[in-house]
């Protein structure tokens, strides 16, 4: 029952919001629902060791409306419900038009995402997977920036194409199940698919996730979409939606086509690591700060994807830790960037500079988030990246060097970006810029506190996924 509440609370609230007119009321209700959902989630994590919810929904399809979770889904649900209050709160700034619709769409996204993470069969998974696209599509289209029509279309077609492969894969797996066909993950996991089949089926299943994460070279929709997206849009995309790709890969690839994974392991890891270096190098010369961060996010996600395919204890622990850490950091980062844009009216780095004179507090907060992003010890980013690099090193020292290069490259482009925004001589255009306001504190201080707390005391997250990590590890035959 509790899972159903978690799943439906956002969308039900969202539908209710459509009946309201007053923007302030709408926001407060939306925020309250998100916070309540977070509290329920935390309660769930603390109290219940495992919960699953199953209901006979459509027995004739051999499939049920079944919800459940393990450590992996729990970490994703935690991430989603942790970030959405901040995403909603960050919309409290100025009066947008259509506040009820916007908040409805945001809550709709939240429900769809939670559905993805809770679904216990592939059919349900796929429906929620596709459902997330609908509200996100409208958020991008209605509140996006320059060129939003073309970019949104591309994003939409690109991800949809990936999903079609996934759909095909699911149908194929469905036909393989013995007896009455089913799409239950538990049944899929029992299939012993011939190795030869696994080698091609791997890609059918992987493409959708590779696009969603995104992994090099399936990433080309991402930089322009992030750049164009509204503040809340990009927070959803970068903070949570990318993790859907990781989650999907974990659910489908390792249990179902383990031999396919082993067969392609090196190829995919190298692909991911190329992505790390490639995106980091590109980020250096970007002039649009959001595009720069988009590439930086791609580098981080690529490293996480590499960790996933290395598939040993440390890399997986690092991966899950980084899921939370990256989500929190990137949301904070995009928030500050939008703050800078609101103050300066531009996203172009060459036009910025010297903002620290007028906005010293903003500079300090940005710097701390930057430190989290470049994984300075005692920030959450360090714990995640250290574990990931440890995992990579266990697999191959060369992979560790390639993945670890993000330590150097990240410092190069992030500190350069920070300098170009904040440092330098007083910029006459920005003398009267306002520093951080109360709302910004409410959003940024908790996020920054999380970055530091998780960096100083990471153990709760590590413990949360311990069992799942051990289970994942055993899925792949040791070679």
């Amino acid at each position: 029952m509790i899972l159903l509440i978690i799943l439906l609370l956002p969308i039900v609230t969202g539908l209710f919001l459509l009946l309201l007119r007053n923007p302030a009321t709408v926001r407060i209700i939306a925020l309250t629902s998100a916070i309540v959902n977070l509290l329920i989630t935390l309660g769930l994590i603390i109290s219940v060791p495992s919960a699953s919810y199953t209901v006979n929904w459509s027995h004739f399809m051999g499939t049920q409306f079944s919800l459940g979770f393990d450590g992996i889904s729990l970490i994703m649900i935690l991430l989603t419900n942790l970030l959405f209050p901040f995403i909603i709160l960050s919309g409290f700034t100025r009066a947008h038009i259509k506040i009820p619709v916007l908040n409805f769409l945001i809550l709709f996204t939240q429900s769809a995402l939670l559905g993805v993470f809770l679904a216990q069969n592939a059919f349900l998974f796929y429906i929620f997977w596709e459902l997330t696209l609908i509200p996100v599509y409208f958020i991008l289209l209605l509140w996006g920036g320059e060129n939003r029509r073309a970019i949104t279309l591309k994003f939409f077609i690109y991800t949809l194409t990936g999903s079609l492969f996934l759909l095909f894969g699911i149908i194929y797996l469905f036909t393989l199940t013995p007896g009455i066909h089913t799409t239950d993950f538990s049944a899929f996991n029992q299939l012993h698919i011939p190795a030869a089949t696994q080698t091609w089926l791997f890609w059918i299943l992987f493409v959708a996730f590779a696009i969603k994460m995104p992994v090099f070279p399936f990433h080309t929709w991402q930089p322009s979409t992030y750049t164009m997206a509204s503040k809340q849009g990009v927070m959803i995309l970068a903070g949570v939606l990318t993790k859907m790709g990781i989650y999907g890969a974990l659910r489908f690839l390792f249990p179902i086509v383990p031999q396919g994974v082993v067969y392609w392991q090196n190829t995919v890891i190298i692909m991911c690591l190329i992505g790390v270096v490639y995106a980091s190098v590109i980020a250096f010369r970007q002039t649009n700060i959001k595009r720069l961060i988009a590439f930086s996010s791609m580098a981080h996600i690529s490293l996480m994807a590499a960790a996933m395919f290395v598939l040993n204890y440390y890399s997986l622990q690092g991966l899950f830790f980084q899921v939370i850490s990256h989500g929190v950091t990137i949301v904070a980062l995009f928030y500050v960037v939008h703050l800078v844009q609101e103050r300066t009216g531009t996203l172009e780095l060459p036009q910025m500079g010297g903002l620290k004179h007028a906005a010293p507090n903003m500079a300090i907060l940005l710097l701390i988030v930057v430190l989290g992003s470049i994984a300075l010890p005692l920030t959450a980013g360090f714990v995640g990246e250290f574990l990931i690099i440890t995992g990579l090193a266990q697999f191959s020292i060369w992979f560790a060097i390639l993945g670890g290069s993000t330590m150097i490259l990240g410092a190069i482009y992030m500190l350069y970006a920070y300098q170009r925004i904040m440092l330098g001589d007083i910029n006459p255009a920005y003398i009267k810029v306002k520093d951080i306001r109360a709302l910004d504190f409410f959003v940024l201080i908790p996020l920054i506190a999380l970055i530091l707390i998780l960096g100083i005391y990471p153990q709760p997250i590590l413990n949360l996924v311990e069992e799942s990590v051990k289970a994942m590890q055993n899925l792949i035959p040791v070679n």
Binding site: T175, Y278, R285
Partner: protein, 631 residues
């Protein structure tokens, strides 16, 4: 006593952390010198606590005490407690960091007086002290690494403290990035250590190190990776170029971070890992080579620098080279001894330079100084003491520590000794060149009105000069009737490869001959810069090609820019404009276009009708359901 140590050890880093929080959070409220007083007081408290720890450890009868605060990371075999190791080596470092640190903090009250961001300055200095203490107190490599990266970050902040100037910001980033290059090597070394020993704690790693065979490839690789980290942090060839640029920071920063403490972290780390390095003769030889090359190379560049802080910066690089030489020779305690005396005299030199710059109204060019001896007597005498110490004139502190290293070099190979001695002579020359140009002759800049600095600045100078003069007595060799106190003290923490003692008549001969040479060098410098009063040429004047190369620091910065920085920028542009836009994105668009052209139906529906795609998606799901129903 052990209980006392366990109870109060955390206070040592906690005081400066508290100072950081107070001065940082209240930076808009603190007036006048309040931040400076708070910051200095808290670092002094740290020093007092360290002194208490020192005596407690002595009377406890134990060599080391591990203090665990909480479990930081625990995942699988990877168990990393947030713990401190209090032993003779870490206490020595704690005393240096907090002692010299407190003096520099006090000095800064005078030096930074009137700066509009003085409160931020003290917050950052305290944060640095905190990080540095984590570095030297950490009981395992990963806690050390927290401090290691923390000091790197504080160094970044303080180099770019005057952030209006783009060149300073560039210098700050350069320092951080070059350090990070080293840090990648370091962290990989730590990870390999973990896989080898299933632990990264010092005691457990060193206890098991004996199981490895000396010279085994694994231990060689680990020690080299750790060395990469040390080379970055301690500014050795090829990662030294950030340190001269780091002089962009306020002068007390140069004294604390870029002379006395942070840059010696690499030496500390390797001395700490002495047991591992003893097993890796190849790595030791690499360190001899790197250290000696850096010592001489940087000293040569120092000969022709005219910015007072740049001379001292290259001198620091060079002196760190000597410490690496000592490490490479397996004389780790000697390296720590030189680290200690260097912390005294180099901090003193930088603070003296700060006093001079302060008096000259911000002028740093020694060609424009001169005649300051009478106007600034305290600064002069303290600076003189430091100059004598760094040149290795007995009985000043540098004499004992440097001669110990030279003798060890001689025992290893006379050629090493000759080279190292050559570097020492060059050091002596550029230091006396600096001294004479600044304090002797006539004042050359008429616009300046030099005056002695206030007492808050001169008292730290005096205390440091006492330490620079007598610091060598910490470790008087038996040859001179001493007991090698520091070497003995460190013995429980450092396993030396060679006996770190001076003995026999050869050594006496070496010392006498080197002293004679030093005397000649000082005389030469005196004749050149005082008697003949030669002032180094203006920058515009054409020089012989070799002198020009030295003046331009052998164009290393330009070479690095051409080899790494520019190609990196080109690569970034190439990836973005050519690979990303012209290949990858174009391919995706191409596939999209081709697909849409395939069917006439698709073309009709593609006329910008977005909702069709939503419809198609829902339709797809419906088809899926139907499919399931049929099958």
């Amino acid at each position: 006593m052990v209980a006392l140590i366990s109870t109060i050890a955390w206070l040592v880093p906690a005081f400066p952390l508290l100072g950081f929080l107070i001065t940082g959070l209240a930076k808009n409220r603190l007036k006048n010198n309040q931040a400076g007083i708070i910051a200095s007081t808290l670092v002094s408290f740290s020093f007092i606590t360290a002194v208490i720890l020192f005596f407690s450890l002595r009377s406890s009868g134990q060599d080391s005490v591990t203090v665990t605060l909480f479990n930081w990371i625990s995942a699988g075999d990877l168990k990393i407690p947030f713990a401190f190791l209090i032993d003779h080596l870490s206490i020595t470092m704690m005393l240096i960091v907090t002692g010299v640190g407190a003096l520099i903090h006090i000095y800064s009250i005078g030096y930074m007086h009137g700066d509009e961001r003085v409160n931020s300055f003290f917050a950052q200095m305290n944060l640095f002290t905190f990080s540095m203490l984590l570095l030297v107190m950490g009981a395992n490599y990963l806690i050390l690494f927290i401090g290691w990266e923390g000091v790197g970050f504080c160094s970044y902040l303080l180099i770019g403290f005057w952030f209006k100037n783009p060149a300073f910001n560039y210098a700050a980033r350069k320092a951080f990035v070059m350090n990070r290059i080293g840090d990648l090597g370091f962290i990989l070394g730590i990870i390999l250590l973990f896989f080898t020993f299933k632990s990264v704690s010092f005691t457990e790693v060193f206890a098991q190190a004996g199981t490895l065979q000396a010279g085994a490839p694994l231990i060689t690789l680990i020690t080299i990776l750790l060395l990469v980290g040390a080379v970055g942090k301690s500014a050795q060839i090829p990662l030294y170029t950030w340190l001269p640029d780091a002089m962009a920071g306020p002068t007390p920063v140069s004294a604390l971070i870029h002379a006395a403490t942070m840059v010696t972290a690499g030496i500390y780390m390797i001395a700490r890992s002495s047991i591992l390095y003893n097993l890796a003769p190849i790595t030791l030889n690499i360190m001899i080579g790197l250290g000696l090359a850096t010592a001489i190379f940087a000293a040569v560049i120092g000969l022709r620098q005219n910015d007072i802080k740049k001379v001292l910066a290259y001198s620091t690089v060079s002196q760190l080279g000597y410490m690496f030489l000592a490490l490479g020779l397996g004389a780790y305690s000697s390296a720590v001894f030189h680290l200690t005396t260097h912390a005294f005299f180099k901090a003193l030199l930088f603070l003296g330079a700060g006093s001079i710059i302060h008096a000259m109204g911000g002028e740093q060019d020694i060609r424009k100084m001169g005649g300051l001896r009478k106007k600034m007597p305290v600064t002069y005498f303290t600076f003189l003491a430091a100059t004598l110490a760094i040149s290795g004139i007995p009985p000043f502190s540098g004499f004992f520590s440097k001669d110990l290293i030279l003798t060890k070099a001689f025992e290893n190979n006379p050629v090493l000794y000759v080279l190292a001695l050559g570097g020492a002579l060059i050091t002596c020359f550029y230091m006396f060149r600096l001294l004479y140009l600044v304090f002797f002759g006539d004042q050359r800049l008429s616009s300046a009105h030099p005056h002695e600095s206030p007492r808050v600045m001169t008292i730290p100078l005096i205390i440091l000069s006492i330490l620079s003069v007598f610091g060598g007595f910490l470790n008087i060799p038996e040859l001179f009737g001493g007991k090698s106190g520091l070497g003995e003290f460190l013995h429980s923490a450092i396993i030396s490869k060679v006996t770190e003692e001076l003995a026999g008549s050869t050594e006496i001969g070496l010392i006498i001959s080197s002293l004679a040479l030093l005397g000649l060098i000082i005389l030469l410098a005196y004749r050149t810069y005082v008697k003949k009063a030669i002032i180094p040429a203006e920058d515009s004047k054409s020089l012989s090609s070799f002198s020009k190369a030295i003046t331009n620091k052998f164009y290393i910065d330009e070479i690095y820019t051409a080899l790494f920085e520019r190609p990196f920028g080109f690569l970034s542009d190439f990836f973005f404009y050519n690979v990303e836009n012209k290949v990858l994105d174009a391919a995706v668009d191409g596939i999209g276009t081709a697909t849409s052209r395939l069917g006439g139906l698709a073309r009709k529906l593609q006329a910008g009708n977005m909702s069709f795609y939503l419809f198609a998606m829902v339709g797809g799901i419906l088809l899926f359901i139907i499919f399931i129903l049929i099958v």
